[in-house]
Symmetry: C2
Subunit: 147 residues, 2 copies
């Protein structure tokens, strides 16, 4: 069975002479539990619920570290392009829809994106290395969404 994200991360860090600390574990656990993207500030808030003394600087340092190590992903949204949002790096490619009313994030997969990339290769001879897709809109049948 798959090893925990924290364990995997610990190994990756150790391989570079870095350490798995309580703060890094905390950040990873929060990211793992979250089913949406968090920015540094939100992460810091959540983290303080479990460790009063964790600093925002440490959250930033941790996010940079984990991002460089390929353990988490960083993305920027149009709604708020000035700050980074983070999530656990996921092997299987997925995309996001955000409800503008209730803020809920839906993660979904589709092979239509692969078809778009195939079209790009065929028509323009370009190879896509990086795909950035984000939809925004409204829930219509979600009970928690005030419509």
């Amino acid at each position: 069975m798959a090893r925990s994200i924290v364990d995997t991360a610990a190994d990756k860090l150790r391989a570079q002479g870095l350490r798995m600390t309580a703060q890094r574990r905390l950040v990873l656990e929060i990211l793992e539990a979250a089913n949406s993207h968090l920015d540094a500030e939100m992460l810091h808030q959540h983290a303080r619920e479990r460790d009063q003394s964790i600093s925002l600087a440490t959250v930033y340092r941790t996010l940079n570290l984990l991002h460089r190590a390929g353990i988490i992903e960083q993305r920027f949204l149009d709604q708020d392009h000035s700050r980074g949002y983070y999530e656990i790096h996921d092997e299987s490619e997925h995309f996001h829809f955000t409800c503008l009313t209730c803020g809920k994030v839906i993660e979904f997969e589709t092979d239509l994106v692969a078809q778009i990339r195939a079209e790009l290769l065929e028509k323009y001879g370009v190879i896509v290395e990086n795909t950035r897709i984000h939809f925004e809109g409204r829930c219509t049948r979600h009970p928690d969404c005030p419509q």
Copy 2:
């Protein structure tokens, strides 16, 4: 036949008691001629080739104005999320591919995106109002790209 972008813009501005000035015309003409996105700095450089004295502040003010008026679009790229890029507002929906080697931008259309939105509606009952798609990668057969 379609009226020129500058004329259309002039009307929209006049309707709000605003003026079409030489600087605004210049910015629009540069955006119209450019086949890729420009940021404020690049736009300013180009503009100075035709009007030595145009200021960067005016470029920013003009971009804001035209954006608010719906005449141009503003977008943020992953490669450089910290600055805005601008292009003439286009009725037909299109998407972008950027070559990470040569920086060239390809604009393309595809109906596969509409299919993705249809899938989202069917599977999750959500209505997409806002679509953000951007691909990055490499040219393979473009003569100007150093591969």
